[in-house]
Symmetry: C2
Subunit: 203 residues, 2 copies
Amino acid sequence: MKLYGAPMPAPNPRRVRIFLAEKGIDLAETPLDMRKREHKSDEHRARNSLGQVPTLELDDGTTLSETVAICRYFEEIQPSPSLFGTTPFEMATVDMWVRRIEFTLMMPVGNYWRHAHPFTAALLTQFKEFGESNRDVYAGAQKWLNKELGSRPFIAGNDYTMADICALSTVDFATWIGVPLNPALENLSRWHTTVTARLSAAA
Amino acid sequence: MKLYGAPMPAPNPRRVRIFLAEKGIDLAETPLDMRKREHKSDEHRARNSLGQVPTLELDDGTTLSETVAICRYFEEIQPSPSLFGTTPFEMATVDMWVRRIEFTLMMPVGNYWRHAHPFTAALLTQFKEFGESNRDVYAGAQKWLNKELGSRPFIAGNDYTMADICALSTVDFATWIGVPLNPALENLSRWHTTVTARLSAAA
């Protein structure tokens, strides 16, 4: 198979790379040059009609897109070590946390990037005031997550899961675009140190 | 167990009700009065720290939130009929489409509701121009989905899945808030007629 992606700081391809590193799956990424808009080319749109990365192409030519769906595919074909939970309750809990991280933590970062960052201003119509407002939304999301992390080591419970991968890629991307973690939030800082110390974080 | 929800037109509780109807699972909803902000009460925040519905409370008192995660729990404890796929590729494909529907189709509807609709103007700070811009984004998302539906009966393939449930609740909610489906999009209209004709759609 072939995994189309893009190098750092693109957060979504990184999530798949971290996931594969945690699984011990050796699959080199085929990078697309996003500055040259290769992800929006006809060739790539034939693989992914939304023109996004990551996209996984299987050996029979079928394709899968969306970061979490690609990771779920690898979880199914190689269940161990589990990163999506194993019992029905664990699986639902990890899914809940993946979704909460994406909708509550990632969304304001994405909105800020899309609507307030100078880099995207050159490419897209921005609503700057809306974009800027997402700094506060992200600050609130960090506080909420900090409180949640007061009762357990990882985001979905006692084990490192896909939810931690989603959160790590989000906060590192946010730092890169000028919205760093609030260092006063001790549980969140402790969590960030812990997950960053894993070998997979370098992926 | 106890399922906390809210009646129509709230789109997320409806998704769980449709899912349960498709599964043939008989579980009455415990409605919260969202106009009285019961979902933001301390009592409900103890179940769901984000103060949202739906939330599922299991018999041991543990809770699960997030629509798709709750449905995934029921899929795991009662796999048939499958609504999330059965092979690794099917499961990843359904997940991909659930995510595409949420990020590409539902997001502009939610942004319009949140930032441009008069109902939410009374409750929250809006960025109106941004909110209004989401009408065009939603129009574009409909066109994309219409094209995708040219090659198959349901959103993720030949079978009705969770992705159809997510899309149905989204477009019906959009219509309710004044952003109806574009009737010129024939594949999308045909799909909408088909999924609306299922008994579960009344849930």
